[in-house]
Symmetry: C2
Subunit: 377 residues, 2 copies
């Protein structure tokens, strides 16, 4: 589900628009996503110190929830495994990557078994006493048996909703919805979040820990794609609206393009932890919450190069990689595939023209809420 | 690794040669493979009865080793899960599908979560208390932590060797190798088999069970592709030799086409269970061994239809599906892809011509050795 975080290396990208991008832009998206994950490392280390002293004979079970191809979290996972191995030399360690069934699990396995990187001297999945797995079960359900998970981690995965609670008629994202529309999305996000926490509470061993970095709306109202410049979702909605106005797409298609996402505020993240709430009664405690902002690596490169056209040509595909499926999916399946591709190309071409004309107004910083939870002992 | 057993349903086949085949031939390969698996059910049921009475708080952990896309074993896995659920209503159940990293794990997960079959009223992966996983770790290594596996199952996966021990100069398979060549393959198979058993011995809980159905050479010297008619591997070797004789392929390419496989005899399967052997000392016991022959479902259909051309056009692709990669891989990578495809087409076209001319000489029964092992309590 960490769709923003796919590696944009030329070998791995099947999107010609992305494979065309030159130079350092290739890995910029992965870089930003990795920076978020690496920023959680002090909190992960705190959790590991607490976990090393837990008495247990069970395997030390680690999970990366919504891991996509496992690329951006790989360094952190290796760090976690090595830290556990040092602290608990004879303990079996399991590492499980979860995502939806259609995820590219082969890349996950090839990475951990060393066939993606010929220079990997010691593939993580082949270390003695380390056992690696995948799960295709949605993180909205319980994935592990009761009391078998020691340390759970997740980055940039839990803004996806388990279902689309309603239409957003004149925008593409809950951040631009009417109050009435947004209420449905917030309610769905609230019930999904409670379900996610209750599932994790069951999975965690007594004393187990959960470290999450989730997209959020921060205390200034900022979120991914809206941190002072042109709002990414407003821009996408504007150009999509332009296609409808030009009769390039039908009204029903215009209305159907809606991201199945909701960005929660910090207070929405902590809301389920009231006294005697189901989550509290299930034994889950909130130990830490903070927000972090990760500067857009594309914009940083533009400030160095000053090449507006090259920037637009790299930046827009980096938005396209995670947004395109929403627009393709909104088009009538009766349209020939070539026509659907042409319409979506037109959308992003218009966006690219806008960015090239005023590159200094376009960037997308990541805005995350980082949380640490523990299960009572 | 269960490459023979892929579903040949039109929806799932990306091979146009296979997608072209009409009628009942579509599912014949899957049918034969499934019959082998279903034939193990009485032995699996015996194992389940013994396992239900084991005292344990751990999850009841089931594994399908070398499961490919999970299609042919799906009914058996569902049967196992339901039997355990009935016997142990409150016990957590885990089900893990293992195969090599490049395996199609998405199809495994889509199947168990119900998105391959809209009529599946209760997807196995969404039953309460059932937790499903995949592993991309080769079955030649330990996949699960010590003493965490309750019931292991594997069909038609363990004839693959962990490495190619040497060339087979004038044939394509160990069954047609010289004595000297075959000795290397037998030695590799022997050491692989011991490693497989030692890994499973570590994984199994005390009292745990392992049920395997592996390709073998039976007491009459029969094996897959050689049960009285034309030997499939001799036929492939003959037509490959023909391409070399016609200078269509180079000598180095001719010699490079070698299946990384060995079919063990029943006595080779039981050899590691001597008194004080490492496998015996690891606590593994052999409880059952037998051989079974599963008639070729293609040949059965031909006897009904009598259409030689249609039979050849269905039978040869059913061999091609699991043998083609060996021949493609033997061709010099410097050849353009189209040329490599043309060469391999020529190989199978020649085979098809041979089958159409004398269809009554061509069939492939499966020949399996079925074994049950238990871990001492």
């Amino acid at each position: 589900m960490r769709r923003q975080l796919k590696d944009f290396t030329p070998q791995e990208s099947s999107d010609p628009a992305i494979a065309m991008i030159g130079g350092g832009y290739y890995s910029a998206n992965a870089l930003g996503a990795k920076q978020v994950i690496d920023a959680t490392r002090p909190l992960v280390d705190d959790a590991l110190r607490a976990l090393a002293s837990l008495p247990s004979e069970k395997p030390f079970a680690i999970a990366d929830f919504g891991a996509a191809d496992g690329g951006t979290s790989f360094d952190l996972m290796r760090h976690i495994v090595r830290t556990v191995r040092t602290a608990l030399p004879s303990r079996a360690i399991t590492l499980t990557y979860t995502d939806l069934p259609f995820n590219d699990f082969s890349t996950v396995f090839r990475r951990i078994h060393g066939s993606l990187d010929a220079d990997d001297p010691q593939p993580l999945g082949q270390e003695s006493g380390v056992f690696t797995f995948a799960s295709g079960t949605t993180l909205h359900r319980q994935i592990f048996p009761d009391q078998t998970l020691t340390l759970g981690f997740s980055a940039t995965a839990m803004h996806y909703l388990s279902m689309k609670p309603g239409p957003i008629a004149d925008h593409v994202h809950a951040v631009g919805a009417t109050d009435e529309e947004r209420t449905l999305y917030r309610d769905q996000a609230t019930s999904d979040w409670t379900a996610i926490l209750l599932a994790r509470a069951r999975e965690l061993v007594p004393g187990g820990r959960l470290v999450l970095a989730n997209f959020c709306v921060d205390e200034r109202g900022h979120h991914l794609g809206s941190t002072g410049g042109v709002n990414v979702f407003d821009a996408l909605a504007k150009h999509w609206r332009g296609l409808a106005a030009a009769n390039r797409i039908w009204d029903s298609e215009y209305r159907a393009a809606t991201f199945q996402q909701y960005y929660k505020t910090a207070s929405e993240f902590v809301a389920p932890f009231g006294l005697d709430s189901p989550v509290t009664l299930a034994g889950l405690r909130l130990d830490h919450v903070s927000t972090i902002r990760t500067p857009c690596p594309f914009a940083a490169m533009f400030r160095q190069s000053g090449d507006a056209a090259a920037y637009a040509h790299a930046y827009v595909p980096s938005v396209r990689s995670w947004s395109q499926s929403t627009f393709v999916g909104a088009l009538d399946p009766a349209r020939p595939q070539g026509e659907r591709a042409a319409i979506v190309n037109q959308l992003y071409d218009a966006y690219e023209t806008e960015v090239a004309a005023a590159p200094e107004l376009h960037w997308k910083d990541y805005v995350h809420c980082v949380q640490v939870f523990s299960k009572v002992q």
